[in-house]
């Protein structure tokens, strides 16, 4: 079916459906994922197809959900857990950071923990400070975990199927505002390899590395900039850890300038890691300006819509910052 468009959330649902249909070991576990269909509808209808034994509604027990994934994965299953909001993963941290991530290494390379934990992050829904977190870099900081952040429906399906097939624990970070965005998504099952950075748009004047929803905002910004004669190169790492950094290094060698855009707060964010990688790389000798980060303000997400809007990078702020960099303001 050519030109078939799906929303991001539909693409995720289709990936889950196809993985479950093809592999009996795959099952879903989380809060309100059964008849309710998940807080954002990602699992809608799956309980009808696969039954309550494979689409398991849990009590409000995030440590339990994570532990259920760890324990079943290490004994041969392929669990896909859902944490209703990324914020709530704080309750699961012990199981993810101290158990799932470390088991293989700690046991001398023997155990495998093939689990996926999906969770929607990000602001923009007016849900305030405890339902809008972007905590991906917490997990980037933990060897043994893989961290994936799809920026569009096509990637979401292919990356989720790859994550389910991966023998490692994968933190799969979705974005609430992306759920309704559409892209062409093939009907057949396909995977996008983890740790494969994507050049979203080619350009010569600036390398812009963005994650999740910021990739889409960067693409919008690039259109406006292009009309003004500025051509930026947009790069989406897609998998934050382990990172495929070579395409970024090569791009910076080409453009001499690098801007990182992410929603998470700037201090301690993934941008710091990216910037360090470039500073340490062969691209350093090609830099023509200081590397810059455009990221969330160092504050919790405010409730007020105007304040919320100004807390994280938007298309306008990306345009402004990119322009300044290209024009040599720094």
């Amino acid at each position: 079916m050519p030109n078939r468009e799906l929303t991001y959330v539909e693409a995720i649902r289709e990936a889950l459906q196809q993985a479950m249909a093809d592999d009996e070991r795959v099952f879903l576990i989380g809060e309100d994922i059964g008849v309710y269909g998940g807080a954002f509808g990602a699992t809608a209808g799956l309980v009808d197809q696969f039954g309550e034994d494979r689409v398991i509604d849990t009590p409000i027990s995030e440590a339990g959900i994570a532990g259920a994934c760890v324990g079943s994965a290490v004994t041969g299953m392929r669990p896909v857990g859902e944490i209703q909001f990324m914020d709530f993963v704080t309750i699961s941290m012990e199981q993810l950071v101290l158990q799932a991530a470390k088991m293989r290494f700690m046991f001398g390379g023997k155990a495998t923990v093939p689990m996926v934990l999906r969770m929607p992050g990000g602001s923009g829904t007016g849900a305030a400070a405890q339902h809008s977190e972007s905590l991906e870099n917490w997990f980037v900081h933990v060897p043994g975990l893989k961290v994936v952040m799809p920026s569009n429906a096509y990637d979401a399906k292919g990356l989720l199927l790859a994550a389910i097939e991966d023998p490692n624990p994968v933190i799969f970070v979705e974005h609430k505002l992306l759920y309704k965005t559409k892209a062409q998504v093939p009907e057949e099952k396909y995977t996008i390899p983890l740790t494969q950075t994507k050049i979203v748009r080619e350009g010569t004047d600036l390398t812009l590395v963005a994650t999740s929803i910021m990739v889409q905002r960067a693409v919008e910004a690039a259109k406006v900039l292009s009309e003004q004669g500025i051509e930026i190169e947009i790069i989406d790492p897609r998998t934050l850890n382990p990172l495929d950094e070579q395409p970024i290094v090569e791009s910076v060698i080409k453009t001499g300038k690098m801007l990182v855009v992410h929603e998470a707060v700037k201090t301690g964010g993934f941008g710091g890691e990216l910037v360090s990688r470039i500073a340490e790389s062969s691209a350093f000798d090609y830099l023509e300006a200081p590397i810059r980060r455009l990221a969330g303000l160092d504050i919790p997400i405010p409730y007020n819509r105007v304040l919320e809007y100004h807390t994280v990078p938007q298309v306008e702020s990306i345009i402004e910052e990119a322009k300044k960099m290209v024009e040599g303001a720094y």
Partner: protein, 323 residues
């Protein structure tokens, strides 16, 4: 608590003697561990289970290597009782390449995934949520296995305990929750940390089977776990077994033990699970000495094996992070 042992008919004389050997081997291992640590031959920290040999051996005897074990930081005993090789345990303890975890885990993380020993855990209650997953997995794969999650009295006051036992109960999972109540969570006594008579009472809150047994009576532990396994296999769900026992040594090597009296320790030492079991078996002194000799020999062999084993190569440092 009486000092007699419960009668168990299912076990043969040979099996009973094997259990005594295991208990003595555990104590010999722990004594040796203490010596090696004092001598600086091992590093880090370690948690000795001297005085708790009855729970470890009783529980594992009721299970097979086809079942699963989730262990605690005070886990040498359960590991040996599960049937792990003292040589590879000692090598792990010394951080050697031949250890169960290639020297990456150490005392607190000894695991033998091949025999379904899913590892000791450095996090109090860390194994409890995992047990839910293992239980789910058993149920979904429709095998007749069970998983035993061992934890201490301290773990019963973690939030993960509640989440796990509740999930295990609502899904009727084949899990044996074995709470080793050794009276202290580091320095916090059970009397100060709980406002209930016994920890197994909490089973009622989850509507699962609960029982408190004399953890220094290896046979009553065996019997409780055997019944819990049968219950799990019959689809009757999890059981919470509380084993009353006592840790003779400090929490770890840097423990001054200001929270308890020497008299209290001596009192519990009179209920030594090994002495009680040896008396029960009515073995002659020579026979007991024979078993002790075998236990010591096993541990001496383990030390030689470990000491002569190679250190892990730094070249391999990155191995095993990702599959």
């Amino acid at each position: 608590m009486s000092n007699t042992l419960s009668e168990v008919m299912e076990l043969t004389r040979e099996q009973l003697k094997e259990m005594l050997l295991q208990m003595m081997t555990i104590r010999a291992f722990e004594n040796k561990a203490q010596d090696l640590y004092s001598l600086g031959k091992v590093h880090g920290t370690m948690h000795l289970s001297i005085g708790q040999e009855g729970t470890a051996v009783g529980a594992s005897t009721a299970l097979t290597n086809n079942d699963y074990l989730l262990n605690t930081h005070r886990g040498h005993g359960h590991c040996l009782a599960w049937g792990s090789d003292p040589n590879r345990m000692m090598a792990e303890f010394m951080g050697k390449e031949t250890g169960y975890c290639r020297g990456r885990g150490g005392s607190m993380h000894i695991a033998d995934v091949d025999s379904n020993n899913l590892g000791a855990n450095g996090i109090v209650a860390g194994g409890l949520p995992i047990s839910v997953g293992v239980g789910l997995s058993i149920k979904m794969r429709q095998t007749d296995q069970v998983v035993m999650a061992v934890f201490g009295d301290g773990a019963a006051n973690e939030g993960a305990f509640h989440e796990s036992l509740n999930m295990a109960s609502i899904w009727n999972l084949p899990i044996v929750y074995l709470c080793e109540n050794n009276q202290y969570a580091m320095s916090m006594s059970v009397k100060r940390a709980f406002n209930i008579e016994c920890i197994s009472l909490r089973a009622q809150a989850y509507n699962i089977a609960g029982q408190t047994v004399d953890g220094n009576d290896v046979l009553s532990v065996y019997e409780a776990v055997r019944k819990a396994k049968a219950r799990a296999q019959a689809g009757e769900g999890p059981t919470l077994i509380e084993c009353l026992t006592y840790r003779w040594k400090g929490h770890s090597k840097s423990d001054r033990q200001l929270y308890r009296t020497r008299d209290e320790v001596k009192d519990w030492q009179k209920r030594d699970p090994i002495v009680r079991f040896a008396n029960y078996l009515q073995l002659s002194e020579e026979a007991i000495a024979e078993v002790q000799k075998e236990a010591d020999r096993l541990i001496e062999t383990a030390v030689s094996f470990a000491e002569s084993s190679p250190e892990p190569s730094v070249d391999t440092i990155m191995e095993g992070v990702y599959a």
